[in-house]
């Protein structure tokens, strides 16, 4: 007995039978245009051509939106311990987002890796087997160990850090005018790459150079120290900086304090408290905080100080305030990665991390080693945000508004950046690709890429 059935695509919708992986929420309505301000594949001066052939599905133009949705579905499947659905989505994602594709695809591939790492550590997906680890190379494996020279040229490739350096140095110079001794406490992730320029600027001070004290927070020994990684001891680095300062007739001393964001840099703060006891008012204390403060646990990290029921982040800012600094500079990424649920963090990260993948085409050629290092670092961040929990998750960025509230709450008032400083930053940005820009937001400066907020720089003094 032969039976033939035929179902055309216009059949009325059937209620899905509820089986795992069979279409419950798996399929995306890829036709609805999403607000994506950026076409895949870089900064084109003309908009992408409309599809003229029936071969191109509308889904393609919104591929970034599709990928985000698939990633969200995948994250949900992992949280729900649905191994079947997780597998299906991972298989699809693996095929549409090769690690050597366009910006969107590489972005998605990095998120895919992070989700696989997360899946292998939780729930139905068992312990990481060697096979999983080999099949999906964790971003952490590719993070490069830089020499000082390599790191210096690496951070200059893009305004991501340079922007904060320039703004900070300008503000510091202003704030320490008239002080014969300047003590800079560097809380940053880029291992003093900002300092040579600062030394130069201090050396050419109209009133002559001050005595410079540099104290550097060394978090390298912490379990989740964010990249970049410096392949040199701080002793050696310090010696080089001191020599450089000497060559500019700046007398400098250099101290390193191993410390950890997990306890709000308490060892560093303790050192400083001791030093502040013997001050005579001739020393200006400056805190230079670049991209490291967000590694101190906030309220969502669940950890609170034993003494009070406030987060370590709040405690840190109060401690800084208590040291009566002349200036605190805060440069951070303008994004919020503190959502408690992984899907919330995924959306936030996906809608921010597209920027480095989009921008990299403008300054690093495909296949170059430096591009691999650069994308490895971005991948590290993505993996940290999505796959880590607890103390190991250090990428807890908050946006400019939130930091502003925190600083005000801790007893600081904003210090606006002068026109000269803003002008210098704009000039610097002209050395980079056309997509980079800058704007003022309240008293802060904001670095932008294609109009989207990237990194903000703010300066604060005790109120």
């Amino acid at each position: 007995m032969m039976q033939f059935t035929h179902a055309a695509v216009t059949a009325p919708p059937l209620h899905p039978n509820g089986a795992h992986g069979l279409g419950l929420g798996l399929f995306l309505d890829v036709g609805a245009p999403r607000a994506r301000p950026w076409p895949a594949g870089g900064f084109a001066s003309t908009p992408p051509p409309l599809p003229t052939s029936s071969k191109i599905s509308l889904g393609n133009l919104n591929s970034a939106g599709c990928m985000e949705q698939l990633l969200v579905h995948c994250a949900n499947a992992i949280e729900a311990n649905d191994a079947t659905l997780t597998q299906q989505i991972l298989w699809v994602l693996n095929n549409i987002a090769p690690a050597d594709g366009d910006s969107n695809q590489r972005l998605t591939a990095a998120f895919l890796c992070a989700l696989v790492t997360r899946a292998s550590r939780t729930g139905a997906c068992k312990a990481v087997t060697a096979a999983v680890a080999a099949a999906v190379e964790s971003a952490a494996l590719h993070v490069h160990r830089f020499t000082a020279v390599d790191l210096a040229s690496f951070v200059d490739l893009t305004p991501w850090h340079r922007f904060g350096y320039m703004a900070a140095n300008a503000a510091i110079l202003d704030a320490v005018e008239g002080f014969p001794v300047v003590h800079v406490v560097d809380l940053s992730t880029t291992h003093c790459m900002q300092i040579p320029t600062l030394i130069d600027m201090l050396a050419s001070r109209a009133e002559g150079p001050p005595i410079l004290r540099l104290t550097v927070a060394d978090v390298a020994s912490c379990s989740s120290a964010p990249p970049p990684v410096l392949d040199m001891s701080y002793e050696e680095l310090g010696a080089k900086l001191v020599n450089f300062a000497r060559s500019r007739n700046v007398s400098m001393d250099f101290r390193v304090v191993p410390t950890s964001p997990a306890d709000a840099f308490s060892s560093l703060v303790d050192q400083l408290r001791v030093q502040q006891l013997v001050l005579d008012g001739t020393e200006a204390l400056v805190f230079n905080c670049h991209m490291l403060m967000h590694t101190v646990p906030d309220e969502t990290a669940g950890s609170v100080s034993l003494a009070q029921s406030v987060s370590l982040r709040t405690m840190l800012l109060k401690s800084l305030r208590a040291l009566e600094p002349a200036l605190v500079v805060v440069a951070e990424e303008d994004a919020d990665f503190t959502a408690g649920d992984v899907v919330g963090r995924l959306r936030a990260a996906f809608n921010f991390m597209w920027i480095p993948y989009d921008a990299v085409d403008t300054f690093l050629p495909k296949g170059s080693e430096q591009r691999r290092w650069y994308e490895a670092e971005v991948g590290w961040k993505v993996e940290n945000v999505l796959a880590q929990e607890g103390v190991d998750r250090v990428e807890r960025q908050e946006d400019r508004t939130r930091w502003g509230q925190r600083m005000r709450g801790a007893g600081f008032r904003p210090v606006a950046f002068g026109e000269e400083a803003a002008g210098e930053v704009r000039t610097m940005l002209n050395e980079h690709a056309a997509g980079w820009g800058m704007k003022r937001e309240d008293d802060d400066l904001m670095l932008t890429w294609k109009g989207h907020n990237v990194v903000f720089a703010s300066a604060w003094a005790p109120s």
Binding site: A11, G23, P258, S260
Partner: protein, 497 residues
């Protein structure tokens, strides 16, 4: 035969292993050394408080009470192991007696086996699989062969649970899908022929991947083959409608056709309505071995596949020889094979009785059935290679990305113990080194006699030459919508009735 290799694994007992190694001592982060000399204005301040925060807790001396408990457990395990070995001996002796035709001896051995079973835990290890084999032997000896009539839908129900509980079917699906996706690269009209549609679990992921591929999705047709439905139902159509729904939401132009047949050799190429210019993928997951019973329609079916000139023919089969003529050989092979499978079910921890029931049906078929009634005639990949080669199909290597993906996806959904290996372009999924399922991909040799391969371009006509069996060619249609006997098939005239 060798009794030295004992494939059964005992579940790990945490009590016995705790405290026997010192691996729970927390590692101490060494405090940084204080730098000597600071004459260069470079100082390094140690912070001993932070790093020495937690002194390691040294293990308390191992109390003797735990030692006694561990010893008792070890003895129990040894006893169980002995009972297990004895049981295997008995089962194989019984099988040997059956092969020799000695019913009385077989019954006696079976009675002993049942007694041994009582001494074993049937929740895990050897007991769990042995109970099914003992049961099967019992049926063979004492029950008249009747086709067990299970309620409709049982097959699908058990299949779905087997799909969920272990990685084998999932591995089959995504490995086959990978080969199909790659084969369809650049094709605008594609047609998948699924030898066993079931609930269509394989296809949503492929539809989604096709939807998002660069250049956009092709026009996708799926032809699903399955057994006829009971009156009042049309299971194939239901699945087809569901897939159509999914395809619509993924914006993939889609069309489904169901072909109901009890066995694959009932399916003729014309029923598949392959259109000229479309790329064909034929997908067979655990179906070919059913065609090996005499008079073995397998070669006819493989010829039919080859005549479709598929871009890819994906084959997943059990990696075992359960088609041996001698009963004892077959029984032994199956005992060891299904022990490994049950072992892996054990380890996945979720413990699915339905998945077990699915496997039990296979075991029963292998042990109890003979001749035309026995469908589970698994054969190893090496023999499939020969057969497929004789049918004019050549192997398409599955590629390193398929291997990598398979390892990742299998690793994610199941514990340690499963591994994916690659050999000669085929992937096998195994348990602790024992291969259990193999996946391979094939294509037809290019057409001979200078005939155009219609799948190379969208608008080619089907050319006719003296090689055809004389059927009429529908040479100008470029889509498959005609209902007449259209030849999208080259050189297959001899398949037409």
């Amino acid at each position: 035969m060798a009794m030295g290799t004992f494939p059964f694994q005992w579940p790990m007992d945490p009590v016995a292993s705790a405290g026997l190694d010192g691996s729970f001592l927390p590692s101490l982060v060494p405090p940084p050394a204080l730098a000597a000399g600071s004459d260069d204005s470079v100082s390094y301040y140690g912070a001993p408080q932070m790093h020495a925060a937690s002194l390691p807790e040294l293990a308390a001396p191992f109390p003797s009470r735990d030692a006694a408990a561990a010893a008792e457990l070890a003895m129990r395990r040894a006893e169980e192991e002995v009972a297990g070995i004895r049981l295997v001996h008995l089962l194989m002796s019984c099988a040997g007696a059956i092969e020799a035709g000695d019913h009385a001896l077989a019954s006696a051995q079976l009675a002993d086996a049942n007694a041994s079973l009582a001494a074993l835990s049937t929740a895990s290890g050897i007991g769990r699989v042995a109970v099914h084999f003992t049961d099967a032997l019992s049926r063979r000896l004492f029950l008249s062969p009747t086709t067990t009539s299970a309620p409709p839908g049982t097959d699908a129900f058990l299949y779905h649970h087997f799909y969920e509980a272990c990685p084998y079917l999932k591995f089959a699906h995504f490995t086959a899908n990978q080969a199909i996706l790659e084969a369809f690269h650049g094709c605008d009209a594609v047609h998948v022929v699924d030898f066993s549609l079931m609930q269509g679990l394989q296809w949503p992921a492929l539809i989604q991947a096709l939807a998002l591929r660069p250049g956009g999705p092709p026009f996708l047709r799926i032809t699903g083959i399955g057994p006829p439905s009971p009156p009042g139902r049309d299971d194939l159509r239901d699945v087809g409608l569901h897939l159509a729904d999914l395809a619509r939401s993924a914006r993939v132009r889609f069309s489904f056709r169901g072909v109901a047949a009890y066995t694959l050799d009932e399916v003729q190429p014309w029923m598949l309505q392959v259109a000229p210019g479309e790329a064909v993928a034929v997908n067979s997951v655990l179906q070919l071995h059913r065609l090996l019973a005499d008079p073995a329609p397998i070669d006819a079916v493989l010829d039919c596949v080859a005549s479709l000139q598929p871009k890819i023919f994906t084959v997943v089969e059990q990696e075992a020889d359960h088609n041996k003529p001698g009963f004892l050989d077959r029984f032994t092979e199956a005992l060891f094979y299904y022990s490994a499978v049950f072992d892996s079910l054990d380890a996945s921890g979720t413990g699915s009785p339905m998945a077990e029931a699915y496997l039990q049906r296979e075991i029963c078929d292998i042990v109890c059935n003979d001749g035309a009634a026995r469908a589970e005639r698994h054969e190893p990949l090496s023999r499939w290679r020969d057969r497929l080669g004789r049918a004019g199909l050549s192997a398409v290597p599955l590629g390193p990305s398929a291997l990598r993906q398979a390892r990742m996806l299998v690793g994610l959904s199941s514990g340690e113990g499963h591994s994916v290996e690659e050999a000669d372009g085929c992937l096998t999924l195994g348990w602790h080194g024992r291969p259990l399922f193999s996946a391979s991909a094939w294509q037809a040799f290019p057409a001979v006699d200078g005939e155009d391969n219609p799948h190379n371009s969208n608008t080619s006509n089907v050319s006719s030459s003296g090689g055809d069996g004389g059927d009429s060619n529908n040479s100008s249609s470029s889509n498959g919508k005609t209902q007449t006997q259209s030849s999208g098939v080259v050189g297959a005239g001899n398949m037409f009735l």
